[in-house]
């Protein structure tokens, strides 16, 4: 082990440029590097060599500076990443008329830069970050003490495997009294901050079906947007978790807490489409307590009180209903694809007033009323039902339509009451409602994180969702788009391989400690029998995306059962989740609650600084991936494929096939290859693995040591796989896995794997001719259609008990105050008069971009943005340092910026700065001091003063319906320092 490898930079970008310029000038092989007169040469310093320069490669791959899944085109020379631009093939990166036809050869395509955002442009500063961890580290002091020893991969993985063997037991129950907890193997918990499609299936397979833990993937969506997903899944019977306006044809868009010029996804695409939309004369309204960049470019900024979006939306609904501006034809349809509409709603469906379920016939059909007669919805005359036939008896049970229940709910409050709740004048609600309805199918109301990261998040999203149902904008050009979809990377269609299946694998059993998607009284009968209502901690039966913010608090409480080992990957919980730092630090410091803690990271981060072992990760342009599933803003089909743009490979024959093992930048050897060599599957004299390694290869190396199913020979079932492709029955390296995924995309798209790999994915042809079978539009409709049922009334909510209150959930959109997990209103304390909203800068991700010096060069620190009138009242001046203090006593310092563009009583803080690790921290490695970069600690992170749930006490407020952490329900006081 080279002791200095943690610190030493090898071939750096800067050196490369200097060397290559000198070499080129001497040899005259690349005149572009130093062309023209001496004046010009001296002037332009060290620009990148041109893409046409001999020896300069262009590599097509996928960005992961955020989750937008934009194609990129990387410029690489001598193995060094120089610049990253957008891919000219990718629909995120260029408008339809500009995007290159997929058939364009890469040699031509490389001359046409697509768009990518500042974050993506800053990739070289991630790959070559001087604070990167370049060797496995083992803790030598107490957890969190910043004292490390550099160790070999072999030592790290041998020691980790030795411990994991003690809990790899898929038979013995954790607790015989509670069989629902599952076996001891569930005591291994994996938690991923950012882990995408392709990667998820890899670890689900290896740790679920191989190791046998049901805790195989606690990922981050609960601090992201999950209540938005949950709400849309409730509205669509689970079929769709996300819609976006078709901005290319829309006329009127209301963004509810969605700042598409700064965040959301894909930000760069939405920002470009918004620029086009504005230039074309489109009208935009933004509902947000802060005048975001989007609000600042909108025709109307609605500076709403945080968390009261439902009041604004239901106020709009009230005006639309009272003035009959809703689309009656759409709402009275009883099935899909009739009377000029593609989708339909439950407006005319009868709901039983007794058990609150939908009335159904013996075959399970919904029932509607037409001309005084009750019909199955699919058999009603002209497929029409009545919106409000009054109370109707079906089998002796009184019923009313979903519409009438919705209207009754909307009418519970007057416009003035709605206006008072959301702090917006009645006129503004009415003007917005009138304009919205007037644009009909080409008007869209779109929610994102703003309305949903509250305790009432799902109800805000449902209220906004129903506005779109009133005008019936689904599937229309310029309306609400469900997106063009994706190619089946994980298998499914004929000829593909279902890669998730492990030959000889186990089925993970029991309840994950996240309890997401599980119903307390039914899925945990013994626990329910012991504890009854309320449960000790909330269960979220409608949340399909884990329960990230409650992971550590649940581990602290040992609920529903104690764990043993925690493995984290690209995880920033104490930084990124509200009010999480204290509970995180006291829980991970406890070696009884977490006996082994392993963290993958690219720097010593806010999470990994507490680990027993840090395993150095490659960066996101040093790996393969299939980050498919495009945003619904993209109306054509995509099959994204990421590949490493730098690094090298070792090619070895094992079991009759050539296996490719990846060696990232700053690395030597490959850790999976070492593992196979050690067990005698292969021999050779390549160097032992050092430096950052691909996480998938590390997991393979661990699986080999554990002897679990899922790796090695004949682990995939290739039955039915299309002939003529290089399928892999065996899994020796990450590439074996990704090759199967690549082949799946090839089978589903009909494009050869080599071409998909070369072009960074496969993207449906352009919408240039109306008869193009993959066009974005079909007459006045979107080509990719949802064509499904949309609910005003959510039956599941009405018929499922809340694990905390024991009462059913509310099935209709509603206005709720901030509530704790017991459903009790959390009243504002006048001593803490300020609400905090956080936001993303267009040039930052969440926690991660602190590493990118080029991005921090734009703004080295963030500020607490405060309305100038509030500041005046408190005697605070621009630039003053203040202390934000939460009711819990948690406090943080920051500098104030006085602005007009935030509602009085609200503070706005961007969510990227104020780190205490991630390269900011000075540590000791092998007894030597390794200095941190103090500039990464500049600024303020307002999550530190997030608001705790008063009942649970060790976790932030949350939306127990949607599963979200409540980011924007914090209240603080501001003290001058």
């Amino acid at each position: 082990m080279e002791k200095k490898s943690f610190l030493a930079n090898e071939l750096t970008r800067r050196k490369f440029i200097e060397l290559s310029a000198t070499a080129a000038a001497a040899a005259s092989v690349a005149p572009q590097l130093l062309s023209g007169s001496k004046v010009e040469a001296a002037t332009y310093g060290h620009p990148d060599p041109l893409e046409t320069t001999s020896g300069v490669e262009t590599v097509f791959s996928m960005c992961l500076m955020c989750h937008s899944r934009c194609g990129v085109m990387a410029k690489v020379a001598n193995g060094v990443l120089l610049k990253v631009d957008g891919s000219p093939y990718h629909p995120n990166c260029l408008d339809p008329e500009e995007r290159l036809p997929y058939s364009t050869p890469v040699e031509e395509a490389k001359l046409h830069r697509g768009k990518n955002c500042a974050k993506s442009q800053a990739y070289p500063t991630l790959v070559y970050d001087p604070q990167r961890v370049k060797t496995p580290l083992k803790r030598v002091g107490p957890r969190g003490s910043g004292q490390w020893q550099a160790i070999s991969w072999k030592q790290a993985l041998d020691e980790i495997a030795e411990h994991l063997r003690t809990i790899r037991d898929v038979e013995t129950p954790i607790d015989p009294a509670f069989p629902e907890f599952g076996p001891v193997a569930n005591k291994l918990v994996l938690s991923f901050g950012r882990w995408q499609n392709g990667q998820k299936q890899f670890t689900d397979r290896l740790f679920g079906s191989g190791f046998g833990t049901v805790n195989y993937r606690h990922d981050h969506t609960s601090i992201c947007e999950v209540s938005h997903h949950t709400a849309f899944k409730l509205m669509t019977d689970g079929k769709k978790d996300h819609f976006k306006p078709d901005l290319d044809k829309a006329e009127y868009v209301i963004w509810f807490g969605a700042s598409v010029l700064e965040a959301d996804f894909p930000m760069q695409t939405l920002a470009r489409k918004v620029a086009n939309f504005l230039a074309r004369g489109g009208k935009m309204v933004t509902v947000d307590p802060r005048c975001s960049k989007t609000a600042g470019k909108s025709h109307r900024w609605v500076p709403i009180k945080p968390g009261t979006d439902a009041a604004f939306a239901l106020g709009m609904a009230r005006w639309i209903i009272e003035n009959r501006r809703y689309d009656e034809n759409f709402l009275t349809n009883t099935k899909a694809d009739v009377n000029g509409e593609k989708s339909y709603t439950d407006a005319t469906f009868l709901v039983r007033l007794t058990d609150r379920a939908f009335a159904r016939d013996a075959s399970g059909n919904y029932l509607v009323v037409n001309g005084g007669t009750v019909y199955p919805a699919t058999q009603a005359p002209n497929f029409k039902g009545e919106l409000d036939p009054g109370t109707v008896e079906v089998d002796g049970v009184p019923c009313r339509t979903a519409w009438s229940l919705y209207v009754e709910r909307v009418m519970e409050r007057t416009l003035e009451e709605y206006a008072d709740i959301c702090g917006i004048p009645v006129d503004m609600i009415v003007d917005t409602a009138r304009e919205f309805a007037a644009h009909g199918k080409k008007a869209v109301a779109n929610p994102y994180r703003g309305p949903v990261k509250h305790t009432n998040g799902v109800y805000n999203a449902l209220a906004i969702g129903t506005l779109n149902m009133l005008v019936g904008n689904f599937d229309w050009a310029g309306g609400n788009s469900g997106g063009g979809g994706q190619y089946a990377f994980a298998g499914g269609p004929p000829g593909t391989v279902s890669v998730g299946k492990v030959v000889g694998g186990v089925t993970p059993k029991g309840i994950p400690i996240s309890r997401h998607g599980k119903r307390y009284d039914k899925d945990a009968p013994n626990l329910f029998a012991r504890d009854g209502f309320p449960a000790k901690r909330p269960w979220t039966p409608f949340n399909g995306d884990w329960f990230y913010h409650d992971l550590i608090p649940s581990i602290e409480e040992g609920y529903p059962y104690p764990i043993d080992t925690l493995i984290t990957y690209w995880n920033a919980l104490p930084y990124a989740a509200p009010a999480q730092r204290e509970v995180f630090e006291r829980t991970v410091a406890d070696t009884e609650k977490i006996k082994l803690f392993v963290a993958f990271d690219v720097v010593i981060g806010e999470v990994s600084r507490w680990a027993d072992y840090i395993l150095p990760d490659s960066t996101s342009l040093e790996r393969w991936g299939t980050p498919t599933n495009a945003s619904p803003a993209i109306t054509t089909k995509v099959g994204n494929f990421r590949k490493p743009v730098v690094g090298s490979t070792i090619r070895v024959e094992i079991a009759g096939k050539e296996r490719l093992f990846y060696v990232p930048t700053y690395a030597r050897g490959n850790v999976a290859l070492d593992a196979w060599r050690e067990v005698g599957e292969v021999s050779g004299n390549w160097p032992e693995a050092e430096g950052p390694q691909l996480a998938e290869d590390v997991f393979i190396a661990l699986a080999v040591r554990l002897g679990i199913p899922g790796v090695g020979r004949n682990t995939f079932d290739l039955t039915g796989a299309k002939e003529g492709l290089d399928w892999r029955a065996d899994l020796y390296s990450a590439w074996d896995w990704y090759l199967n995924l690549l082949n799946n995309i090839s089978v589903d798209s009909g494009v050869p794997p080599e071409e998909i790999l070369e072009k960074g994915g496969v993207f449906a042809p352009l919408d240039t001719t109306p008869d193009d079978p993959k066009a974005a539009y079909s007459g006045p409709y979107l080509k990719a259609q949802f064509k499904g049922l949309l609910h005003f009334y959510i039956e599941k909510l009405a018929t499922t008990p809340d694990s905390m209150t024991g009462r059913p959930y509310d099935p209709l959109p509603n206005v709720y105050p901030v509530r704790d997990v017991l459903g009790r209103e959390v009243r504002d304390d006048p001593a803490y008069p300020f609400a905090i909203v956080t936001y993303k800068d267009a040039y930052h991700g969440q926690a991660r971009t602190v590493q990118n010096s080029w991005l921090r060069a734009i703004k080295p620190e963030n500020l607490i943005e405060m309305n100038a009138a509030d500041a005046k009242a408190l005697g605070i001046r621009d630039g003053d340092t203040v202390r934000l203090v939460a009711p819990s006593g948690a406090a943080t310092l920051g500098k104030v910026k006085l602005i007009q563009g935030v509602r009085p009583g609200v503070l706005a803080v961007s969510h990227h700065y104020g780190h205490w690790a991630s390269g900011a921290e000075t540590v000791k490695i092998n007894g030597q001091t390794v200095p941190g970069d103090a500039a990464r600690a500049l600024g303020v992170q307002s999550n530190l003063v997030g608001r705790l749930d008063p009942h649970l006490g060790n976790v932030c407020l949350m939306d127990t319906v949607g599963g979200s952490a409540a980011f924007f329900d914090a209240r603080v006081r501001v003290e001058r320092v």
């Binding site: 002037t43 041109l50 609000a295 734009i858 500039a935």
Partner: protein
């Protein structure tokens, strides 16, 4: 001589700062492999193109405007007049204004003279640098890095663009130096 110049659409500028970073990346004005130097809350770093963000109006009637700016390659460059060692020249072929770093003595007179803050002092080299209109790319018939990267398609370039058009508030009197820029609001 046809004068090269910028065409900036203020409606289309969404304040994303991609142009700034694309320029840093293209011209390597900040090393990728060293920690960022920060002094008094400001980055000690050379940026040829920047985006000015501003708020217009009083709560609740607030708008935001974003103005992307670099060297305007002026008809009468103030920087050129201010340079005591004739390091700054205006190229005959297209009017691109360039600094000869071998002649530059780092006195920063040009930076003080320029009404747009275009010349940037590089502490590492002790010289002044600025936007070159990516003339290395122009020479190969490729777009400047900021143009190809601009998300909102707010930055275009052309020859004899006929400015200054609808200049943003606070923009220096175009009569002073004759900036080669046309401002639009589509």
């Amino acid at each position: 001589m046809a004068q090269i110049g910028w065409i900036i659409d203020l409606t289309r500028c969404v304040g994303c700062h991609t142009c700034t970073v694309a320029c840093i990346a293209e011209n390597n004005t900040i090393p990728a492999d060293t920690n960022l130097q920060v002094r008094n809350g400001k980055a000690v770093a050379v940026k040829y193109r920047r985006v000015i963000e501003r708020e217009i109006g009083v709560f609740p009637n607030v708008k935001r405007e974003f103005v992307t700016m670099s060297c305007h390659h002026c008809a009468q460059p103030a920087c050129m007049k201010a340079c005591p060692v004739d390091a700054i020249t205006k190229r005959a072929s297209d009017g691109v204004v360039l600094i000869d770093l071998e002649k530059c003595i780092g006195c920063r007179y040009c930076a003080w003279a320029c009404p747009y803050g275009a010349p940037q002092f590089n502490e590492a080299t002790g010289k002044v640098e600025k936007c070159t209109f990516c003339q290395h790319r122009l020479a190969a018939n490729l777009e400047p890095a900021c143009v190809s990267a601009c998300l909102g398609k707010a930055i275009r370039f052309g020859y004899d663009v006929g400015g200054p058009g609808q200049v943003p508030e606070g923009f220096a009197d175009p009569g002073l130096t004759g900036p080669s820029v046309r401002w639009e609001r589509s």
